[in-house]
Symmetry: C2
Subunit: 319 residues, 2 copies
């Protein structure tokens, strides 16, 4: 279970991987599917029904595997005590305090966090394994551009309104890209500032669009208002050599090294102030840090270490 | 899993019963609860979370039981292949065609239908076991009243509008009782006919209210517009000696014996016509049929037969 890139890599490294996912998944692993596509894309199915079908199918085949690596949140945990195969769960975020009773019940399982900051107490974490990106998708842009950029969901959590404030106070242009997740927020706090000149909104962008943005970026602004679990966009920008100015909340300080690959700030005023020093940031150092900590290769090796730990623990408990 | 009355009875007959249900359940069985009350009554919990917690808890204790009798629809089925204890599922109705993929996958399990008519093809049904009622709650009303009554959810499926038509055409009074499930339907097709004299709506009623209704009833009208799975209210009315005029759809003909405990009809005109013969129905025969087929005792014996069948089948498959 994971994205296509990860699976190819793990297969290449000698693992025999079966991916339980929808039939339209792109993977070089052996694909085991019970649903045709994601339920968001298929109105003929009931999400609850295909979720139960999908999860149980994997657990019914448990005996065929040395390990089940689940990315399926609290639901999959409720099947883990009915099988013998060890289950590792990567927690990609806690969506609500209401899901915690299940994590606490199954807290003695095996868990990986996606950042040190996004951890709950009482769970048996074996490691933090950061998400990794394919660096070839985001080539280094040798020289920086003139603009500020924002990339991400248009939602108050992501602090788009704070990025606009920074742009206005610094007199720089800001280009905003991403899907609108909160319509009211967009209409009331973003749209009134758009002027086709200094503050622009260009909608969602794909990899090509991101690279075009990175080419004209002096810095990426990520002034999140709640703790960030793991900001993939910070890593992508850094890979392209773009320094990041991020709010010092959640995992941002694990991704961005203050003064080396960007700056961690506490508020808008600080963000404006560090902009004056942004050209001090070495663009190659930004990419270097991604290569070291946030590449697919680093992620795969991180998981391989966790798998070995689990196999050791299981062998010990049997002997 | 079942209502309190059923559990007491089964315990009384020598079974050792553990009921997995919310902590506020009334039962003489051993209660095993992981949630305090039904999720509809507790805004602090996420229904999906407590559902997963509740179901998996029962299956994690499977080894302690000779049989798990599940009333938890398609969700519980997805855990059945991970345990050795046989699981019997009573299907209390198919809520949507979208749930059928799970029933078909697990169709080789053990199933009970609540009426012969409410069956899906391809499932391994061992029997139909009708729901049973506690007849002491609905004493025989020796002499009938003058009015027509409707009892049930105010919803187009239940044909309240057809009952009103019958009342108008026959010139009889109709008393409607039950919760409003479909507000638009109530406002547009029921409310305009209410006149405090010939067509009355008295809201939801409890057991006492039902008995008061039965006392003044000449007949209960149940002109359902879709196949009835199992109409408990038909049984309750019959228990009190009230004849039932029911649409001949779904399980109605299993519950009502045409011409003996009421009449099965195809439309409003037929319902009006049989009203002229309603006094021919023997009120004691109505109750007698309930005693024979729809009592708790009959239900319990029906399930005991199914349990024996399962134990035999399991023993045979092991030998």
């Amino acid at each position: 279970m994971g994205d296509g890139g990860e699976q190819r890599h793990r297969r290449a490294r000698g693992w025999d991987v079966t991916l339980f996912a929808s039939r339209d998944s792109v993977t070089r692993a052996r694909l085991h599917a019970v649903v045709d596509k994601g339920y968001e894309e298929d109105a003929t199915v009931d999400p609850k029904v295909v979720e139960y079908l999908h999860i149980s199918e994997a657990f019914e085949h448990a005996a065929e595997f040395d390990l089940i690596h689940s990315h399926y949140d609290f639901m999959a945990l409720t099947y883990t005590r009915l099988i013998r195969t060890p289950v590792l769960t990567t927690i990609h975020g806690f969506s609500s305090p209401k899901i915690m009773p299940i994590y606490h019940k199954y807290g003695d399982g095996y868990f990986v966090s996606v950042s040190d900051s996004d951890r709950a107490t009482g769970l048996n974490y074996l490691a933090t394994v950061y998400n990794g990106i394919d660096l070839s998708l985001y080539p280094l842009q040798d020289s920086g551009g003139q603009d500020l950029i924002f990339l991400g969901r248009i939602h108050p959590d992501k602090g788009v309104h704070l990025a606009i404030e920074v742009a206005r106070l610094s007199g720089m242009r800001l280009i905003i890209a991403g899907i609108v997740q909160d319509e009211t927020y967009f209409r009331e706090q973003i749209q009134p500032h758009l002027d086709d000149e200094k503050i622009l909104y260009i909608g969602p962008v794909d990899v090509k669009g991101k690279n075009e943005l990175f080419a004209r970026a002096r810095a990426l602004l990520h002034l999140n208002t709640i703790p960030e679990r793991f900001g993939l966009v910070l890593v992508e920008a850094n890979a392209a050599g773009v320094p990041v100015i991020a709010m010092d909340l959640g995992s941002c300080r694990e991704v961005i090294k203050d003064g080396e690959t960007g700056f961690l700030v506490a508020n808008v005023a600080e963000a404006v102030r560090v902009l004056e020093r942004i050209l001090e940031i070495d663009r190659r150092a930004c990419r270097g840090r991604v290569q070291q900590h946030f590449s697919i290769d680093t992620m795969v090796k991180g998981y391989e270490r966790v798998y070995s730990t689990i196999f050791d623990l299981e062998a010990r408990s049997r002997s």
